[in-house]
Symmetry: C2
Subunit: 422 residues, 2 copies
């Protein structure tokens, strides 16, 4: 069994094996990679019993260890969820292969032909928490983009992840691709995560996915280049000219549609000239959906059904049916608030003023800046990428929703006929 | 005087001032940035006496501190070199401004209009050694790409850098731009470099320029995202079908034209089937130019005028008129050698075999991979970028020669009309 072989290898041996496998994947054509993805999707459905048995073990351990109901729910895999995971893998098979795409190029005056083409990173490391769907998601995206992947999942999902990785490896082998292209290092525990962050030169890029704490640890401790997929303290600003119907819809959708995700609204800013006109209806609609309003003094004068906001509310990513609300004196004051408190994920202005819209777009320094749109659209699927690796809140390499292309690097190809430099 | 004001500020105050200046630069149009560059170029020429006086101080200190003749030469600025620096700044003014360029975009089915546009990073940090030309180069490239820059130069050039930065700041102010857009933190000594590497969130990207030791320190210690501009252990492989004239020219040009730079050839690999045909003429031409050949046993059997190569020769970036030479049994063996010893900068194959050329291009994992070309062409100027920030040997964000575009990030602009997510 693959599981047994894996368990007897050292950390370095596993990373070396990932590098070797990455060389095969880098020159594997899209047709074969897609066959592998189809095989993985089929295996997830066919091996449902085996996965669910492993998952049950994690669920029992989780209950014994006092995991919250929310965490246990994230951990749980049933037939329906496995079917959804298999569908997601099939969707990745339908996407365009980013590898080999020409980014730019030209023929120099001396006849040298230059082209910059997309290539896989090589070996991608992923550190995440106890969400076994990430195991399958990331493995399929890495495979499609020609990367080997080394996974360090949460210990609470260790049995589930081991089963999923074994099934993926068997599917890879069934189409003639190396099993080592997808590996877990969960058996090394916390030390595995630490070693992964030190493995500069062996891991080409490290992607942390999970809580702000996890991401912050990886970002500050890793010697391997990191893509930060960050937290979202997301703002909507209702300008003095904001349309009331748009304001109600956009704020409600941004906050309520799915409060637990990073593109959900956390702080609402309202221009003082529009506060009395807009806040009763905008906040009333939120209250009706069970949202707790944390308002500053001026907000509470207009909308009594609010608890007092403290400094902490401006810095909190609630991820729940809570919203911080502040009345500001001007667009400048709104932009200043965003500069101070935003995590640079997504901010949206609701306005009918062209000049203010353009200033907001130009001066707010976030991955996604919007005019008259719900913040919930910051998403790889919504952006048309077909799949999402995460949402980058850093400025290097990728910013905003990341698709398959963001899992690639490039290299320059130079074709000459004996040219030398004068 | 600017110098006095600067000296009284704390490290944090300087970084805050850089952030404030970066917001002005981010929305400054190209015409004004170009006027600033012209003013800097003029000021460098007009203030030649002031710069040379400061430089003399550094040169005297350098001689007292026992700097080598090579280092003293890199440190020296005279009227001719200052004229060259001013010309380089004027060249940057002629380049296309990368800021605001549309990278991609589309209108979604729901009518949301998406565009990904280039924006400055914000505040760029640069850590480099005692080459005062870097001060002017990087300041002008950062300015043109809309970034504020915080410079930590080598202590041996401290007086020169202080004078250059003061002159640049005066030129910025003369056209109405903030002086704080270009700052040096040399007055904080080594501790300044350490603090710069810790300043995540204040510095958006850190670029080390200089020796392999300097780059390695920054890459492993920095909590700020780094662009690694790396060393070059550059290889040429002479395949069995290599044209003799091309082999002689390409190897000679790659090694001899400028041996002290990162794109110069360090190790020559030769297919055993071509060794007797090619090595006498290829190595003979090098010997005639004063190159010391460090050959493996088979090389020395064919070309007696060579010293024995040791393991260390394959891992050394000589940056001098030395060349390591090895005879290999096959293309695979050549690729294996490159995998093991290359710094992934530039590798070139000389061949007439199409299949081998394509395999080399596909399987060698370096920033620039060439067929029948001198390695000396890996250069931003040669690639047509007009200027060069450095040559990236990492896979994240930028790979190979970096131009102005590589000093930018992007952000997503979303324009809607009240859209919400279903």
């Amino acid at each position: 069994m693959t599981e047994t072989v894996v368990a007897t290898r050292s950390f370095t041996e596993k990373l070396d094996a990932a590098r070797t496998a990455s060389r095969v994947l880098a020159t594997t054509n899209a047709a074969l990679k897609n066959r592998a993805l189809e095989a993985i999707a089929a295996a997830i459905v066919e091996s449902a019993d085996r996965i669910i048995t492993a998952n049950d073990l994690d669920l029992v351990n989780g209950r014994d260890n006092g995991l919250t109901i929310g965490l246990l729910d994230r951990l749980r895999l049933d037939r329906s969820r496995l079917g959804g995971l298999a569908e997601a893998v099939r969707l990745v098979a339908t996407l365009v292969d980013p590898v080999g795409a020409n980014v730019r190029g030209q023929t120099l005056p001396n006849g040298l032909r230059l082209s910059e083409v997309r290539v896989p990173f090589g070996v991608v490391g992923v550190i995440y928490e106890a969400r076994p769907n990430v195991t399958v998601d990331i493995a399929s995206l890495a495979l499609k983009s020609g990367n080997a992947v080394v996974l360090r999942g949460g210990s609470a999902a260790e049995n589930t992840n081991r089963a999923l990785v074994a099934i993926i490896q068997e599917a890879l082998v069934s189409v003639g691709l190396p099993a080592d292209a997808v590996q877990t290092i969960d058996e090394f525990g916390r030390d595995g995560a630490r070693q992964l962050m030190q493995a500069r030169g062996q891991i080409d890029v490290l992607i942390p996915r999970g809580s702000a704490d996890l991401i912050n640890t990886v970002v500050t401790e890793s010697k391997v280049p990191v893509i930060e997929t960050g937290a979202g303290i997301v703002h909507v600003f209702l300008d003095s000219s904001a349309d009331e119907a748009w304001a109600i819809d956009i704020v409600h959708n941004s906050k309520v549609q799915r409060p637990s995700v990073c593109n959900a609204l956390e702080t609402l800013l309202v221009h003082e000239a529009a506060a009395e006109r807009l806040l009763p209806s905008v906040l009333g609609a939120l209250r009706a959906s069970g949202v707790t309003i944390h308002g500053d003094d001026r907000t509470r004068q207009i909308f009594a059904d609010a608890v007092p906001a403290t400094e902490e509310d401006w810095t909190t990513e609630y991820m729940s049916l809570d919203l911080a609300v502040r009345v500001v004196g001007s667009l400048d004051e709104a932009i200043d608030h965003i500069r101070r408190y935003s995590t640079h994920h997504t901010e949206s202005i609701v306005t009918n003023d062209l000049g203010n819209a353009e200033r907001f777009l130009a001066e707010v320094d976030s991955a996604v800046v919007m005019v008259n749109s719900s913040t919930r659209f910051t998403d790889g699927g919504e952006f048309g990428f077909g799949a999402e690796v995460g949402i980058s809140t850093q400025k290097l390499h990728a910013r905003g929703p990341m698709g398959l292309s963001e899992l690639t690097s490039t290299k320059w190809i130079v074709r000459g006929a004996g040219q030398v430099r004068k």
